[in-house]
C-alpha cells in the first residue's frame, strides 16, 4: 500500500503553559461529554446530574445567602488530604522518583498521630494534656512515620537501584494491613461495642474546627504548598531537585548528588503524606478506623500529575477533584445515582488529559512522501 502521506512526530520546542491549560480544559469538557453519554445510557439526565454534583460540592445560592456553607466546607475537608498527598507526590516526581506509596505513608502518619494521642497520656503522665503540646507532637510523629516509610524504598533505590514503583506499591499494602491490625486488634477500643476502631482520642488531640467539619488542617495544607513552592522556586535545594528531574546526567556533571537527594526528597515526600494522615485522624475521624485512607494516596498521584507538579496547581486541582468526589457523594442522596459516577468522571478526565498530553509535547507534521526514505538510527563511527 503506497500512502503518499506520512506522519512524523516532532518534539515541540518548549512546552507552552497556555497549551497545557488548554489541553486540561478541553479534556475536562470531553470527559464531561463522555460521562454524559454514560449517564444517558442509564436513563439519567446529565445536566441535572452535573448540576446536582456542583450544588452538592459547593452549595446553592439559597444556602449561601443563608450563611450555610456546609457543602463548601465539606469539599475543602476532602481537599486537605488531597493537597498534601498531591504535594507529596509532586516533589518526588519532580526528581523522577515514582512515589506510589503515599497511601501507606499517609496511613502510618495517621497511626503515629493516633498512637501519640492514645498512649502518651498514660506513658507520659507529666505531659500537659492540651492542644499546644499534643498537636505539634502528633504532627512531628506523623511526619517521622511517613518519612521513614518513604525512606525505605528511597534507600533501596539509591543504593541498590531497586525499582521504586514496586517497592512503594508493596509498602502501601503492608502499611494498610498493619494499621488494620492495629485498630482491629491491638488498639481496639475496649468500649467499642463491637464497632471496629481504636479508642477515641482526647479533645486535646483534636484539631479545632472553623465551620462544619472544616478544621485547622486547611492551614497546614496551604502552608505545606507554600513551603514546597519556596523550596522549588527559591532554594538551592529546589534547583538541584529540578535539575535532577530535567537531566540527571547534567546534574551529576554539575556535582549534584543523586543518592543524597533521593533520600532527602523522599523524607519530605513521605512526611507530607504522613501529615495528611495525622490531619485526618485529628481533624475528622478522631480515632483510628476503617476508611482512613480512601485512596487518597492514589488520587494524590492524579492531583499531582494534573497539576503538572506545581504547588499552586495542586491546591487548585485537589479542590476540584474533592468537589467532584463530594458532589458524587451527594447525588447518591439527591438523585439516587451511585457515588461512583464521580470516580468514573475522574478517570475519564485523566484519560483525556493523558491523550491530550501528547499534543503538548509533540507536534504532528504531515509529510508528502516523494520517495519513502527509511531513516533508521545512524551509527557513530568510533562512538
Amino acid at each position: 500500500m503506497n500512502i503518499p502521506f506520512s506522519f512524523k512526530l516532532e518534539k515541540r520546542l518548549g512546552a507552552s503553559r497556555m497549551l497545557g491549560v488548554f489541553v486540561l480544559l478541553t479534556s475536562t469538557v470531553l470527559a464531561l461529554l463522555l460521562g454524559a453519554v454514560l449517564l444517558m445510557v442509564f436513563d439519567a439526565n446529565p445536566w441535572d446530574t452535573y448540576k446536582a454534583m456542583f450544588q452538592g460540592a459547593f452549595g446553592t445560592p439559597e444556602q449561601w445567602s443563608d450563611g450555610q456553607f456546609y457543602s463548601i466546607t465539606e469539599t475543602l475537608v476532602k481537599a486537605i488530604p488531597l493537597i498534601l498527598t498531591g504535594l507529596s507526590v509532586s516533589i518526588a516526581f519532580r526528581m523522577l522518583f515514582w512515589n506510589i506509596g503515599a497511601e501507606g505513608q499517609l496511613v502510618l502518619g495517621g497511626v503515629a498521630a493516633a498512637g501519640v494521642a492514645i498512649w502518651f497520656p498514660s506513658l507520659f503522665p507529666g505531659l500537659p494534656q492540651n492542644s499546644w503540646v499534643y498537636l505539634p507532637l502528633m504532627l512531628a510523629a506523623s511526619v517521622l512515620a511517613g518519612a521513614v516509610w518513604g525512606l525505605m524504598p528511597a534507600l533501596l533505590k539509591a543504593y541498590l537501584k531497586v525499582n521504586e514503583i514496586i517497592t512503594t506499591l508493596m509498602l502501601n499494602y503492608i502499611a494498610i494491613l498493619w494499621y488494620q491490625y492495629l485498630f482491629n486488634v491491638i488498639w481496639k477500643d475496649p468500649e467499642g461495642y463491637g464497632f471496629p476502631g481504636s479508642a477515641k482520642i482526647g479533645e486535646f488531640a483534636q484539631l479545632p474546627r472553623f465551620s462544619g467539619r472544616l478544621h485547622w488542617g486547611i492551614i497546614v495544607a496551604v502552608a505545606a504548598a507554600i513551603l514546597l513552592w519556596i523550596i522549588l522556586d527559591r532554594m538551592r535545594w529546589g534547583y538541584e531537585i529540578r535539575l535532577i528531574g530535567e537531566n540527571p546526567t547534567a546534574a551529576r556533571y554539575a556535582g549534584v548528588s543523586l543518592g543524597r537527594n533521593i533520600v532527602l526528597v523522599m523524607f519530605v515526600s513521605g512526611g507530607l503524606a504522613g501529615i495528611a494522615g495525622m490531619l485526618e485522624v485529628s481533624g475528622i475521624s478522631h480515632r483510628l478506623q476503617e476508611g482512613l485512607n480512601v485512596d487518597y494516596g492514589f488520587t494524590g498521584i492524579i492531583v499531582a500529575w494534573l497539576a503538572r507538579l506545581n504547588p499552586w496547581g495542586n491546591i487548585l486541582v485537589a479542590t476540584l477533584l474533592a468537589a467532584l468526589l463530594v458532589g458524587g457523594d451527594q447525588i447518591q442522596i439527591t438523585m439516587g445515582l451511585p457515588a461512583s459516577v464521580a470516580l468514573v468522571l475522574q478517570g475519564t478526565i485523566l484519560f483525556c488529559v493523558l491523550g491530550g498530553e501528547m499534543f503538548t509535547r509533540y507536534r504532528i507534521r504531515l509529510l508528502r512522501n516523494v520517495r519513502s526514505e527509511t531513516l533508521i538510527r545512524n551509527e557513530e563511527v568510533g562512538g
Binding site: I165, I166, Y173, V185, S340, G347
Partner: protein
C-alpha cells in the same frame, strides 16, 4: 498436620489462585512485551462485573466469560493506545485505568441488575464443580486438585501452553525480544509497535478472565469491591514469578494459600491476625525484587524484561 487440613488448604488455594493465575499470566505477557500495565485491578473488577451481568442476563456462563474477556481487552487497548502511540506515561495511564475501572465497575454494579436494579445479591449462573473420574479419587490431592470447575481445569491446561508459547515458539521469541531489546528486535524486522499492542490486549483479556472467575465461580455473584486489591497482588505476583508463567502458579498458590491458612487459623482460634499473614506476599515480593536487582548475574538469568516501562520510539537523524 492432618491430611484433611492440607487438602482443604490446597483446595482453597487453587480456588483462590485460579483467577490470580489467569490475571498474572496476562500481565506477564504484557510486561514481557515491555509494557507496564498497572490497571490490573480496574480490568479485573470490570471483568467481574460485566462477566456476571452478562451471564445473569443470558443465563450462560460462557457468554459471561467472553464478555469479561472482551471488556478486559478493550480497557487494555486504551492503555496500549495511550502508551504506545500517544507516548503517555505508563504508570499514570495504568493508574487511571484502575481508577476508571473501579469506578465504572461500581457504577455498573448498581445498574446492571434486573431492570436496572443493583447486581448485588443476585443469584446468577456459575461454574459448577466437576469431578474428574478416577483422578479425583487419588488420595490426598485427588479431591482438591481434580474436583474443580471448568475454569480451574482450563488453567491447568493453559499454563503449560503459555509457558511453551513464551519459551519455545517463534512468536514467543519475538515477544521476549521486544521486551528485552526493542531496538534490536526492530532492527531485525520484528514489528515492535504492533506486537506490543497485541500482547497488551491479550494480557487485558486474560485479566478480564481472572475477574470473571471471581464473580462466576469463586464468590460467586457480585459484591462491591469483589477483587479486594487482588489486582495489586497480581502485579506483585508477576515479579515474584520472575515473569515465568509456571512460577506464577506457584506464586498464586502461595498467595491464595495464605488466604486459606488464615481462614483455618482463625477457625482454630489462634491469635495471629489475618492481617499479619496477609502482609507476607507483599514482603516476599519486595525481598524477591531486591534479590533480583541486586545480584547482577541473577538478574540477567531470571529477570525483568530489560526495556519494561520504557516507551519505544525509533530515533531519527534530525
Amino acid at each position: 498436620m492432618e491430611i484433611g487440613l492440607v487438602a482443604s488448604i490446597l483446595s482453597i488455594a487453587i480456588a483462590a489462585g485460579t483467577s490470580l493465575v489467569f490475571a498474572t499470566v496476562g500481565e506477564i505477557v504484557t510486561e514481557r512485551a515491555g509494557i507496564l500495565n498497572l490497571g490490573v485491578e480496574g480490568m479485573m473488577i470490570m471483568g467481574a462485573v460485566t462477566g456476571f451481568a452478562a451471564a445473569f442476563h443470558t443465563e450462560s456462563v460462557a457468554i459471561g466469560v467472553i464478555i469479561a474477556m472482551l471488556v478486559g481487552g478493550a480497557m487494555a487497548l486504551v492503555h496500549a493506545f495511550l502508551t504506545i502511540t500517544m507516548l503517555a506515561d505508563q504508570v499514570v495511564s495504568g493508574l487511571a485505568l484502575t481508577l476508571l475501572g473501579s469506578g465504572l465497575a461500581s457504577f455498573l454494579g448498581q445498574r446492571l441488575g434486573p431492570e436496572g436494579m443493583p447486581l448485588v445479591g443476585q443469584i446468577g449462573p456459575r461454574f459448577e464443580k466437576i469431578a474428574l473420574p478416577f483422578l479425583s479419587e487419588i488420595p490426598l490431592v485427588g479431591p482438591s486438585v481434580f474436583h474443580r470447575d471448568l475454569l480451574s481445569y482450563l488453567m491447568y491446561f493453559f499454563v503449560p501452553v503459555a509457558w511453551y508459547f513464551v519459551y519455545k515458539t517463534r512468536p514467543g521469541l519475538h515477544l521476549r525480544a521486544i521486551g528485552d531489546s526493542p531496538q534490536t528486535a526492530d532492527a531485525m524486522g520484528v514489528n515492535v509497535f504492533a506486537l506490543r499492542y497485541v500482547y497488551t490486549v491479550v494480557g487485558g483479556m486474560l485479566v478480564g478472565l481472572g475477574g470473571a472467575h471471581l464473580s462466576l465461580s469463586y464468590t460467586p455473584g457480585w459484591t462491591e469491591n469483589i477483587t479486594g486489591g487482588r489486582g495489586w497482588i497480581v502485579i506483585a505476583l508477576v515479579i515474584f514469578a520472575t515473569w515465568n508463567p509456571v512460577r506464577a502458579v506457584l506464586g498464586a498458590l502461595v498467595f491464595g494459600g495464605v488466604n486459606a491458612i488464615q481462614f483455618r487459623l482463625q477457625a482454630a482460634g489462634t491469635t495471629i491476625s489475618a492481617s499479619l499473614l496477609n502482609m507476607l506476599p507483599y514482603i516476599l515480593t519486595i525481598v524477591v525484587l531486591v534479590l533480583i536487582t541486586w545480584a547482577e548475574a541473577f538478574r540477567k538469568r531470571v529477570g525483568a524484561p530489560t526495556a519494561l516501562g520504557l516507551p519505544y520510539m525509533r530515533e531519527e537523524r534530525t
